[in-house]
Amino acid sequence: MIGISRDGRAALAYLAPAALVLIGLLGYPIYQLVLISFYDYGQEQVSGGAPLNWLGLGNYAKLLSDSQFWTVLAQTVGFAACCVLGTLLVGAALAVLATRVRAVPRALLFLAALGAWATPTVAGSTVWLFLFDANFGLVNEVLGLQGFSWTYDRWVAFGLVAAQVVWCSFPFVMVTLYAGIKAIPGEVVEAAALDGASVPRTVRSVILPLLRPLLVVVTIQSVIWDFKVFTQIYVMTGGGGVAGGNLVLNVYAYQQAFAASEYGLGSAIGVVMTVLLLGFTAIYLRALRRSGEAL
């Protein structure tokens, strides 16, 4: 039909502004990132004082044989998994709770969640840090733990940062899922009830399938965000914890590039992170497609 070519032309026009910005300011830097990861790119190369030295996969080989890289990778995956799970559970639970209450408690809940959401990352991190401060923090005062440092032990520090991450990222999940639940036409649920479906059955067979596209979006989004947590770790653990115990890949890459001037190595870590996230998303989307859901 003629529709195809007309669609194609309109699509081109609609997509042109986005393409212009994205190719120039995102695609090209990504290409450069990959390129730099193949070079020995240090301070001298940045200032132009020394010629570029092609390493090929040298930076990657160095990375894979470095035991710290593997520790950091494992920490990153574990940390991100905890954050994603926590975010989804809290967000979904509160979204359901919000549909069950009257206007005033719901407004309070949303106001609080929007507050947490609106708090800039840097500000949120500093407030949590202050609440859990060893000497002046309210939490230690209440628990009678004067002088206990929440950022000294690796796992305690990770726990604290994860709690902060969940606090500032669950509202996105909550608001999205709440809107999704509200968008389900009342007649659909009523029809299910008339047909004799129990509440759990209605949730499983009617509400969850309808919410599925939104669940996919919030899950992928949470994974992408939590795998790349930077500001909270950077601000709350003072750049990666005691002796680098709280490093995650993103902070590790940043340290390698900007603290150690190993721009090539830092870029290589960035590329590895991207590939890992890509792998996750590919698996996830394939699983979705198999169950009959299209992108």
Binding site: I4, V21, I30, P120
Partner: protein, 280 residues
Amino acid sequence: MKRPGRTLAEVLAVLAAAAIAFPLYWMVLSALKPESEVISSDPKPWTLQPSLDNFTRVLTTQGFGRYFLNSVLVALVVVALSLLISFLAATALTRLRFRGRTLLLVMLLVAQMVPVEALTIPMFFLMRSVGDAVPAFGLNQLGGLVLVHLAFSLPFAIWMLRGFVAAVPVELEEAATLDGASRQRFLWQVLFPLVAPGLVATSVLSFIHAWNDFLFAKTFIISASENQTLPLALLAFFKPDQNDWGAIMAGSTLMTVPVLVFFVLVQRRLVSGLAGAVKG
């Protein structure tokens, strides 16, 4: 009609709200406390001598006002541009069939996975060359910052709007076409108002994105301190030996309030609008 368990649910909701809001309360409270009460080993959840000392210190010594305006300017321009561009792109990606559509969607996802922190390296060199050609968009310029933020908020904005555009029934477009509306007319007079909640949600996220950033500002605004933004000014109060908590909390409050206001203004559309638009 009384539903069983609703009282319990409401108590839970209020408790949850209080717990979630507590860090914010503590932030504002600490900002208003006099210095001796902030740096105290016996912190109280109230204050009897509220003072604006912390705010004055922040605003006078660090030039917060100037940075504040810079942050607002950058965030607003980013929001306006990203809304227009992403609405068009999202419409193309959901409403039009063309070759390479799925590929584009996948690329949008991929773009969000690249860690921004690592990308600052190549971006720096790019901004430097752009600045040689067009100074207003190069290093040390707010224009450059706007472009960088735009590039980083677009993939998510498009991705997010896609869902909202897709939720508008196709029958509406068919009806509009049957009634003789052109594609342009449908786009701006039917689709645009219908996805308003989506536009609001997207603008909120783009705004936060730009407002939150300190890494770009730190990396790209190197020598022009008059073009600096808020988060960096806040970090200046962190000192290796003794943090000035009162000032940090005051700065954090100043930084949080505009976003909070923005959120409260749009929250009705953000939350309830979607359901209404899709049903209506």
